[in-house]
Symmetry: C2
Subunit: 342 residues, 2 copies
């Protein structure tokens, strides 16, 4: 049972306006190639019928969609929102439309989304991080869909990326933390398997520890899924360890805010009893109480540059090349020197 009346087509419009379908098509795509009089007739017919071009047919005939797909791990929090917004704004400037999909951090869903966006005719794809099944890269290759990676910069990789060095970003922060006298460190991380950002951040802390003469194996690392509740739960476990960590790194600001909340519930003073460090510097970090020490990531610039690169590539054939952006530790109130005698 389907009562849908078929939507008006180009042909319907052409009949109503008393012209050919070609003319209607031109009216829409190259308005100045058609006489003003005809154009007016056509436009009012379009208006009258409530005509709207069929995207599928258009894509098929034109063999491009001016659509770029972006696949992010989650829309649940603001982590990717700002970068994506900048990306979209930039694309819009160049006449491209963005299509978003999210994966809940699950590789198999990401694969599904990649295939879905490609099937929908995405002219290119923006993906987060390098690490995924080689098979899917081969698929994208045979489909002829260019891919730009973001949130990561890896000089080793042949694939173009616009991002930052996650290891260095976290290492710089860890060095500061160690300078504050902390030696009992912990890390609430996303699952590191199949997540190059999480792995790099973990290594960053380890490298800083080694550089400071600490033993990187002493880092207590808990892997969990991203979420406020999860951050809180992980913090709970960490506080039971002996010796108790005096500084807790978090894989992102959302986890850190969860840890912060649990600390409050446990009457553990931050930063007096324990320091908490986030990553990303989303708005949440400044709103948290106390304001969160975190690693600032150039969300907007990353999005903007990625958008520009892809648009330029599709329109002018400019090769995609990697761009490295910087991050910086932002010291707010959740980090303090380690308490003497603690």
């Amino acid at each position: 049972m389907n009562l849908k009346r078929p939507a008006p087509t180009l042909h319907d419009v052409s009949v109503a306006a008393g012209v050919s379908t070609a003319t209607v098509s031109r009216c829409l795509n190259f308005p100045d190639q058609v006489a003003k009089l005809t154009r007016d007739k056509v436009l009012s017919a379009i208006q009258l019928l409530g005509y709207s071009p069929n995207f599928g047919a258009k894509a098929m005939a034109a063999r491009r969609t001016n659509t770029i797909g972006a696949i992010i791990p989650t829309m649940e929090n603001a982590i990717f929102a700002r970068g994506l917004e900048a990306f979209q704004e930039e694309l819009r400037l160049h006449g491209f439309t963005m299509l978003v999909a999210s994966t809940s951090y699950r590789p198999e869903i990401e694969e599904e989304q990649i295939r879905s966006l490609v099937a929908r005719g995405a002219d290119a794809l923006l993906l987060i991080g390098h690490e995924r099944d080689p098979e899917i890269y081969r698929f994208l290759e045979t489909q002829g869909v260019p891919v730009l990676i973001t949130w990561v910069f890896d000089a080793e990789s042949t694939r173009p990326s616009v991002g930052f060095d996650n290891r260095v970003a976290m290492m710089e922060m860890a060095i500061k933390v160690i300078e504050f006298g902390h030696t009992e460190l912990a890390f609430i991380s996303a699952a590191t398997a199949r997540n190059d950002r999480a792995t790099a951040r973990l290594n960053g802390i380890g490298d800083a520890m080694i550089a400071a003469g600490l033993n990187a194996d002493d880092l207590h690392c808990i892997e969990t899924t991203y979420g406020i509740e999860e951050g809180a739960a992980a913090f709970d476990k960490l506080m039971l360890k002996t010796p108790r960590p005096t500084a807790v790194f978090c894989g992102n600001d959302v986890l850190a805010v969860g840890a912060l909340r649990r600390a409050r519930e446990l009457k553990i003073a931050v930063p007096q009893d324990v320091s908490i460090i986030g990553f990303d510097d989303i708005e949440l970090a400044q709103v948290a109480y106390p304001p969160l020490t975190t690693v600032h990531v150039p969300h907007r610039e990353m999005g903007r540059r990625a958008g520009h690169a892809l648009a330029d590539h599709l329109k002018n054939g400019t090769p995609l090349k990697s761009v490295q952006l910087g991050t910086r530790p932002v010291l707010r109130e959740t980090l303090a020197p380690v308490k003497v005698g603690s």
Copy 2:
């Protein structure tokens, strides 16, 4: 310059497998209508070529996409995220895919997105709030695209909606606030023009005031765009008014958190000096410090029900009908009785 090698088509697969295109198509859509032997041949050809069906062509031939569009005001914060997630999960259960778009709270962008999703073949649309240009409803009508409204329940409207009564929701909260002795009330709102939720919430406060014998005109209302920074700025202005408000309602939790932050910066104690009340009860509300008093909205149930209704409508022709859900005031720590003598 375009080096894109054309992607493999159904025809390519059929040649490689030595069968007709019809057989390949059946293999994909009705696998048990084809002999196991042929199926294996076809599947391995598909694998080999990295074939992926073209969505546009498929949509055109099948005259449906199994895609449902959802258009929300913003992805910048978590306000719509949870409901959307539930919506998507429910759709997935029924074999539908969700396409999201956001509008930055701008009607003209919403219109653009509606047209874009319809052009992309969305079988139905989920929209937030009733209020929009009648023209666009007419357009959807002629396109034969069913629409379900959410985040709102309006018994008056003929259009189906799955949501709650924004006026009553806010009124219930305002009654509590007034019971705490507050008489100097203020409201940091989204723009009420062309936003039935904002308008209803404003009216809800007014109704509660009237019921309590207050003058609804005494409500200080500031309209602003949604954002933490904007909430902070509006709070600033409110604190300069005489008499100074003792309770500040906010159109959503994001604004409320901004107000909370500014209060801290101004050394205005919450809730001792001023009470702050949010709306939505997103995760942020519990993480805020002090935890935010707010109106709880049944995000997930709303999304789930909306998804179910649309899927059921498209698959079985079940008419869309309105569902009213409840909200409830959640009293946390940002609301306290008015200070005597203040």
